[in-house]
């Protein structure tokens, strides 16, 4: 911990919402994978920006606008450092992971993919990393190939190699599963894709196949569930695109980031047109576009949200991922051990490399019933299909319960959860 660091033991007290009671019980918030709570510093930053600094960006010559523009660009630099990008021009602000992935589909995919090309998505993807590709596939006659998930909740690198073909143009995979908590081997996946691209290029230069004009296989990583748990370094991961949401790193909703390698971003076409993404607009001669990344940020951005995201990243830095991962790993093991002790519990996903996102069912009781009872004890978990219906099908269930941990959770939270689950099991089996 640095001199200005925050100890993990005091983190919880920095989150005002966590002090409340729900259904007359102290709130136990175990749904941070859906959205993380916000530290006071983030809330105060938003408040302060609206009270003292608010103005639109990239427009006015006046003091407030210039300050707001400069502050927003500072956050871009912060995000750049947060994920280890090479330069801040590789960072596009979006409304969230969903918009970031849709941006790649429309600004990269539409330009570079051709009829008959193939996109590989894994079976553990969130709908946000499936549906945009299905929509694009429908519009451009592309084929979607599915990378299956093992019983353990892992992706086999061998099966990726067999899925890659001369027609593959994109591999779209989550860094961390929003259901199983699996941490996917992103670097190893990137290496396989690199080797595949190199082989294709060699084939093309020796003139023995019709791949000379083929686009390289690109690698998109949905980082929505990863960025709050571990230090992400996009250069080290070796991906082409990395998307995440601000609200899952303790920042405001409606903020998100698309990282795209500089050369790629330079050659992408804007998807949404409007203000601030242009150099000049002429009704007769047409429009000259702004440079990347601003080219991809049409309209007034979520300026306040971006300021809040900056505050969230500052807060995260002061706590530090070293402390966070030790603390969260300890709690994750506690949950897993306690759940294994309840005979009726079935846990989904047993990946070796994982974070504190834990999916399970309690006997034959529907996740909704379990979640509704837990809610009455003040315990917030997520139930349902978790926007991952293909994964539900993979495990042959309609719904799961999901507990997800964040840096502010405590061993007391886990004890309350486990106690409540045992009680609910007793109640429901007699109902």
């Amino acid at each position: 911990m640095s001199r200005h660091g925050i100890s993990i033991t005091q983190v919880k007290s920095d989150f005002p919402l966590l002090k409340q009671h729900v259904n007359e019980k102290p709130l136990v918030y175990l749904d941070s994978a859906a959205s993380a709570q916000k530290p006071l510093e983030v809330i105060e930053r938003i408040n302060d920006f609206y009270q003292n600094e608010y103005a639109s960006v990239h427009r006015g010559v006046h003091h407030l606008s210039a300050e707001a523009t400069s502050n927003m660009e500072t956050v871009r630099q912060q995000v750049c450092q947060f994920i280890g990008a090479s330069q801040r021009e590789e960072i596009v602000f979006t409304s969230g992971t969903t918009e970031a992935i849709n941006l790649v589909a429309n600004s990269y995919g539409r330009i570079n993919f051709k009829s008959g090309d193939e996109i590989i998505v894994s079976e553990m993807e969130h709908h946000a990393n499936i549906v945009p590709w299905q929509m694009l596939a429908e519009a451009m006659q592309l084929n979607i190939k599915v990378w299956p998930v093992s019983d353990n909740g892992e992706l086999s690198l061998d099966s990726l190699s067999s899925l890659l073909s001369e027609r593959t143009v994109l591999v779209a995979v989550c860094h961390v599963s929003n259901v199983l908590g699996t941490v996917n081997p992103i670097r190893a996946i990137a290496d396989i894709i690199d080797r595949h691209n190199t082989a294709l290029e060699r084939g093309a230069s020796s003139g023995d196949s019709g791949v000379s004009n083929r686009a390289r296989v690109r690698f998109l990583v949905d980082g929505a569930q990863a960025v709050m748990h571990q230090k992400v370094d996009v250069k080290q991961l070796g991906c082409d695109f990395y998307a995440f949401s601000g609200h899952k790193v303790y920042g405001p909703t409606g903020t998100g980031v698309l990282y795209a390698k500089h050369d790629l971003l330079q050659n992408m076409q804007p998807w949404q047109g409007g203000g601030s993404m242009i150099q000049s607009v002429d009704l007769y001669k047409g429009t000259e576009f702004n440079a990347a990344p601003w080219l991809f940020e049409a309209g007034t951005p979520n300026i306040t949200g971006i300021m809040g995201l900056g505050a969230a990243l500052r807060y995260l830095k002061r706590v530090g991922f070293e402390q966070i991962s030790v603390h969260e790993d300890k709690l994750t093991q506690m949950v897993l051990e306690a759940l294994r002790d309840i005979p009726e519990v079935r846990i989904y996903g047993h990946a070796e490399s994982r974070v504190g996102v834990i999916a399970f069912n309690l006997g034959t009781h529907h996740a909704f019933d379990v979640g509704a009872f837990l809610d009455r004890y003040g315990i917030a978990i997520r139930t349902g299909h978790h926007c991952a219906m293909p994964l539900m099908q993979r495990y042959g269930v309609k719904a799961m319960c999901r507990v997800s941990l964040a840096m502010y959770n405590t061993s007391d939270d886990i004890a309350k959860l486990v106690h409540a689950l045992r009680h609910i099991q007793k109640l429901l089996q007699n109902a």
């Binding site: 009781h365 529907h366 019933d369 309609k398 719904a399 109902a431």
Partner: protein, 152 residues
């Protein structure tokens, strides 16, 4: 039957909204209340699997709900249904019990939101469709409205 529900008359025949409300509000705590709701669901006649079709399914993010509506020659509504979540099935049973045998006019007149409000269960009828219950109520009301539109 849960032992702590022994005081309440659990025979779910000839139930009306007042009886359900009375029973529910006489529960000692919310735990008993939820168990009573589940019990009402369990007492519902089982919906046969053949009736669980794309025509009867109501999609919710949290649970699956099926509802089959029949209207007899006197214009009275009848219901069968199921849900994979016990609590939703129980809430559904409550809706069926208050709507059962009512005409389209009576269904549209009945203040279903007020009914759930009175029992402090209004959050189950928020328009998120998250458990399919609100979608189910809307489907019943739409059918009732449709009946009237066709009539006139």
């Amino acid at each position: 039957m849960p032992s702590n529900l022994a005081r309440i008359n659990l025979i779910a025949v000839d139930m009306n909204s007042e009886k359900i409300k009375r029973n529910l509000l006489s529960c000692d705590d919310w735990e008993e209340r939820y168990l009573y709701i589940i019990h009402l669901g369990n007492q519902q006649p089982t919906m046969i699997d053949e009736d669980k079709t794309s025509d009867t399914v109501i999609h919710g993010c949290q649970s699956q709900v099926w509802v089959k509506i029949t209207i007899n020659s006197r214009g009275e509504f009848g219901f069968t249904g199921d849900s994979d979540a016990s609590l939703v099935k129980g809430l559904m049973a409550m809706v069926f019990m208050v709507y059962e045998g009512k005409t389209a006019e009576a269904i549209l007149e009945f203040d279903i939101h007020g009914f759930f409000d009175d029992m402090q269960l209004h959050h189950y009828l928020t328009p998120t469709r998250s458990q399919g219950l609100v979608a189910m109520v809307e489907a019943v009301r739409a059918k009732a409205l449709n009946t009237l539109v066709v009539e006139y």
